[in-house]
């Protein structure tokens, strides 16, 4: 092998504290090195040309550049050596700037260190192999999981980008949490008026295939080629026939069914269309409450259905879809308020969540938009809002801020005054968090224009007294105890990861934090990517978010998908693990630990062996560190390469 070593002065950045010429001179004594030089700026155009010239003049097989961090210029120099006709992996870098010249002033020690770092780069390069990327086809369809506003946005943007979209929604209608809101802050728009058209677009878009009442069962494959199994639950209604006329709902005798859409404020019929703008607008039978399905009698809906759409013996089905990318937009769920026993949530009927209050405020809600308290239907006059219920509280393992509660509480206080002008509202808060366009102004309006009384402090207990609720808390600004006699208490329940989020993350092979929110690739710079190629995040599944942020992420994720799909072929990174079949004993330890499911067990003449799926492997090398006999080796970071570096530093 013929190696060239190029030592960069980087102006005085390296040259100031490292004798670059001496490093180049000393490198002549390294094995296989046939050419060395020191250069003012290796990355500059003349610097790169010099490298190319030296490769040609000396027929070099590999190049070491001793300069700055490879995290900066490794791609640059890989392209340089490639231009000279070498494989781009026949290149190593010694970091003598960030790791040497910039962190010490002792020129002798620095120079010695730079020589040694160059030496280990030479030893590694001597064991480098040319590597070649594999190209593979890409299936330009995208799966969007979750039909809330983030998922809707991602689906629509992808579909508008002319890509086929498979949208999977767990509930019987898309719309998510936003569909349940009455108005949105800070504009006080009607939520369903702005979301509704988008939902209709989803239903009508020729590029979108919507599966409602469906969940992702299994995901296999890798970026560009995912195989997805979708479990579609049985609505007991043939949706191809159902017109959403609603006759069945009128006649259904089972009227005590759980009303999921209305957050269980009141109840609904066993056969049900959640709300008038539902997409798809189809009836669904709740088998837990349907008299026909529980007791075998009734069947009124089947009799009156004009299209004969009722199918009592319908079964769930598994649907297979092939896609090239996945957007997870599974949203959030609400914190269980009954965990605060002292607040009486779940026990006292007039202690409700903010989302339940939205339904009371909504004209399409169970009360027709009249605020009536659940216990006796009376219109409340004194309403207490309690913030941070399940947010910023380590004692319930929810130390994070849910982000949007301050704003919706202010909105609800304003709407309360609109609905009941003679009412008075109190808000118990810890801090007001309103960093957003027009947000702080909005909370100010709630206080100043709408007379909402903000009390800084935690509520210690809520207990019934007559038909009132006594709310006892501290006013930490005044340093006094406060007691408010309320008709209705609204708890700003925090957001938590959607039920089943960790399980979905595992299917997607992405990581999630200890609360179940999905982890992005980089918290600042890669907020919608995950570390699994081809899987993107949108909305609150990544962490609590308000509507505009969710929509923005939906669009961002769609942009990522469209960028991915702009290519006709994908290339893998060739720095992946490879199995030496002769030495593999098929113990399966690598298969067990691979975070990406990139290793499969195969049968070779009756013996189990491991095989790397080259397009899935991400090149972490965990398998190589796990394999007891070193039969699986990460290319470019093989055991022998690392051992050679160790030996160069330590032995002899």
């Amino acid at each position: 092998m013929k190696i060239g070593v190029f030592v960069c002065h980087c102006g005085s950045n390296i040259g100031g504290t490292v004798d670059a010429a001496r490093v180049a001179e000393a490198s002549r004594e390294f094995p296989d090195v046939v050419f060395t030089s020191d250069t003012m700026y290796a990355c500059s155009e003349p610097g790169q040309d010099g490298i190319i010239q030296a490769i040609k003049d000396n027929q070099l097989d590999g190049v070491v550049v001793s300069s700055c961090t490879p995290r900066m210029h490794e791609p640059t120099f890989r392209r340089t050596v490639e231009r000279a006709g070498l494989n781009r992996f026949m290149f190593e870098m010694a970091n003598i700037r960030e790791h040497v010249s910039w962190i010490g002033k002792d020129k002798e020690a620095n120079t010695n260190k730079a020589i040694e770092l160059t030496g280990i780069a030479v030893e590694k390069l001597r064991r480098d192999q040319p590597l070649f990327a594999k190209q593979f086809d890409i299936n330009k369809r995208v799966l969007v999981i979750g039909g809330g506003v983030a998922g809707i946005q991602a689906a629509l943007d992808c579909a508008d980008g002319d890509r086929e979209v498979v949208l999977v929604e767990r509930e019987s209608t898309i719309g998510g949490k936003m569909a349940k809101l009455d108005k949105t802050f800070p504009t006080v728009d009607c939520s369903s008026c702005i979301l509704g058209p988008k939902m209709v677009d989803v239903a009508q878009h020729p590029k979108i295939q919507l599966y409602a009442m469906a969940e992702v069962e299994e995901i296999g494959g890798y970026v560009g080629n995912y195989e997805v199994k979708i479990r579609r639950k049985a609505p007991y209604v043939n949706w191809d026939l159902c017109t959403g006329c609603g006759l069945c709902m009128e006649k259904c005798p089972s009227k005590k069914s759980t009303d999921r859409f209305n957050e269980q404020v009141g109840s609904t019929t066993a056969i049900n269309i959640p709300f008038p703008q539902a997409i798809p607008k189809k009836a669904v039978i709740d088998p837990k409450f349907c008299i026909k399905l529980t007791k075998g009698k009734c069947g009124i809906c089947a009799k009156i259905c004009p299209t004969k759409a009722i199918v009592f013996d319908q079964r769930e089905e598994i649907i297979s879809e092939s896609v090239g990318a996945i957007v997870a937009a599974t949203g959030y769920d609400l914190f269980d308020i009954s965990k605060y026993g002292e607040y009486g949530g779940g026990r006292l009927p007039d202690v409700i969540t903010g989302l339940q209050y939205e339904r009371l405020l909504s004209a399409s809600g169970p009360t027709g938009g009249h605020v009536k308290r659940p216990s006796d239907g009376k219109e409340p006059k004194t309403i207490v809002f309690v913030q941070c219920v399940g947010s910023r509280d380590k004692s319930v393992d929810r130390p994070y801020c849910s982000g949007f509660c301050c704003m919706y509480t202010a909105k609800q206080a304003i709407l309360t005054k609109d609905h009941i002008p003679d009412s008075s509202s109190y808000v118990f808060y810890m801090d007001i968090r309103s960093p957003g366009k027009m947000y702080d102004e909005f909370t100010r309006r709630a206080m100043e224009e709408y007379g909402t009384q903000y009390v800084r402090g935690r509520v210690s207990m809520i207990y019934p007294q007559g038909d009132k609720l006594m709310v006892r808390g501290a006013d930490t600004l005044m340093g006094t105890q406060v007691e408010v006699e309320a008709d209705l208490v609204v708890l700003a329940a925090g957001a938590e990861a959607a039920v089943g989020a960790p399980q979905l993350a595992e299917k997607l092979r992405i990581s999630y934090d200890k609360y179940g929110f999905f982890m992005e690739s980089h918290p600042k710079l890669r907020p919608v990517e995950t570390n699994t190629a081809g899987v993107y995040l949108a909305g609150s599944c990544q962490g609590p978010k308000d509507i505009p942020a969710s929509v923005a992420q939906g669009s961002a994720a769609a942009a990522k998908v469209l960028a991915l799909f702009a290519k006709d072929k994908l290339e893998n990174d060739p720095m992946i693990s490879l199995v030496d079949m002769k030495r593999c004993v098929g113990c399966g330890k690598c298969v067990r630990v691979c975070p990406f499911g990139a290793i499969k067990e195969i049968d070779v003449r009756g013996e189990p062996k491991a095989e790397v799926i080259e397009t899935v492997c991400q090149g972490c090398g965990l398998c190589t560190a796990t394999c007891p006999q070193g039969a699986i080796q990460l290319s470019h970071f093989t055991d022998n390469q690392i051992l050679a570096e160790v030996n160069a530093l330590c032995q002899l």
Binding site: C587, G588, T626, P628, Q629, N640, L643
Partner: protein, 318 residues
């Protein structure tokens, strides 16, 4: 009916369905047993169990993967079966396990320490409490308690943990817990003493890899990195450093998997006390993960899994 008779009956009944049953018989002299591969009914007659049945029969399992194998096991051997099953290295349905209550086995090195060279043992009689030997025409009686293998003194699993057939009644464990006093005592010496101890002990290693090949969990054997060039972890030099590196490799590869059958040390022809390394590893595995290898076939070896929040690992936030 004695346990041995019962065991022989059970084996004879199953043998037609199996390719072989592995147990022990008398070896080249009365003191040395040797593994017995029973293929025909008459082979069963030679079966011997007792304090001289020192070998771990499970060691052969991974080499017989496509065969139907019966295995006579002591408690410790059965832990190896469990561990192999747990790691998917054997198909449990291909293995028929014959258990019996183990009263402990003799450590022949200890016997040698007591009575000198054992090259001329003429006769051995075993009782639950004694070994009676005739050596060079003289009678020697040694108490089992003096020559019992250390692993047996602290044995918590004298009865096969998994078995398809069991002869006799399960016996009480020899011990209920393991406080690793041996490890603590060793570590109470100075670092230098410990370092020099291994330097000196390892110097007589002949690199025969009996420790590795006798280990039921060493499934790489033919492809072990001790002898490979790619990867090239150790050289073939007769150097303490290289020999010692292999012992560290063996200990690390066994972390969370070693069932402490002690075969590595027993097999060592030059009596290097290498079980101490595995003991240490097991002590730490127990402390950090509260894990015992070879007990639960459903468990996952701790170094092949993780918890997002580790209870006993200090994140070393310095």
């Amino acid at each position: 009916m004695t346990i041995l008779t019962q065991l022989k009956e059970q084996i004879t009944a199953q043998l037609p369905k199996l390719d072989m049953v592995i147990g022990w018989e008398q070896g080249y002299d009365a003191l040395h047993a040797t593994p017995l591969f029973m293929r025909a009914a008459e082979d069963v007659e030679r079966l011997q169990i007792g304090p001289l049945s020192v070998h771990n029969t499970a060691t052969y399992l991974t080499g017989l993967r496509n065969k139907k194998v019966g295995l006579v096991v002591k408690g410790c051997d059965s832990r190896a079966v469990v561990q192999l099953q747990q790691e998917g290295l054997i198909d449990r349905e291909n293995v028929v396990v014959f258990g019996f209550p183990c009263d402990g086995v003799a450590d022949l090195t200890k016997v040698r320490r007591l009575i000198g060279d054992v090259g001329r043992v003429e006769e051995v009689e075993t009782t639950p409490t004694e070994l009676r030997l005739r050596v060079d025409g003289r009678e020697e009686q040694v108490a089992m308690s003096d020559v019992m293998a250390d692993k047996c003194r602290r044995c918590q699993y004298p009865n096969a943990l998994v078995h398809d057939h069991f002869a006799g009644k399960p016996r009480e464990p020899h011990a209920t817990s393991d406080d690793y006093t041996d490890v603590q005592e060793f570590e109470s010496q100075s670092l230098e003493t410990r370092f020099e101890h291994w330097k000196s002990e390892m110097s007589r290693c002949i690199r025969c890899y009996a420790c590795r090949n006798a280990c039921p969990m060493c499934v790489c054997r033919d492809h072990c990195i001790a002898q490979s060039r790619d990867p090239h972890w150790v050289t073939q030099d007769d150097m303490v450093r290289e020999k010692w590196m292999f012992q560290v490799i063996h200990a690390m590869h066994l972390a969370g998997r070693c069932v402490e059958c002690g075969e590595c040390q027993r097999a060592c022809p030059v009596d290097i006390p290498i079980l101490a390394l595995k003991r240490k590893m097991n002590k730490e595995i127990k402390e950090v993960f509260n894990y015992d290898a070879g007990v639960d076939p459903q468990a996952i070896p701790p170094l092949l899994s993780f918890q997002v929040e580790e209870e006993n690992i200090n994140e070393r936030g310095w």
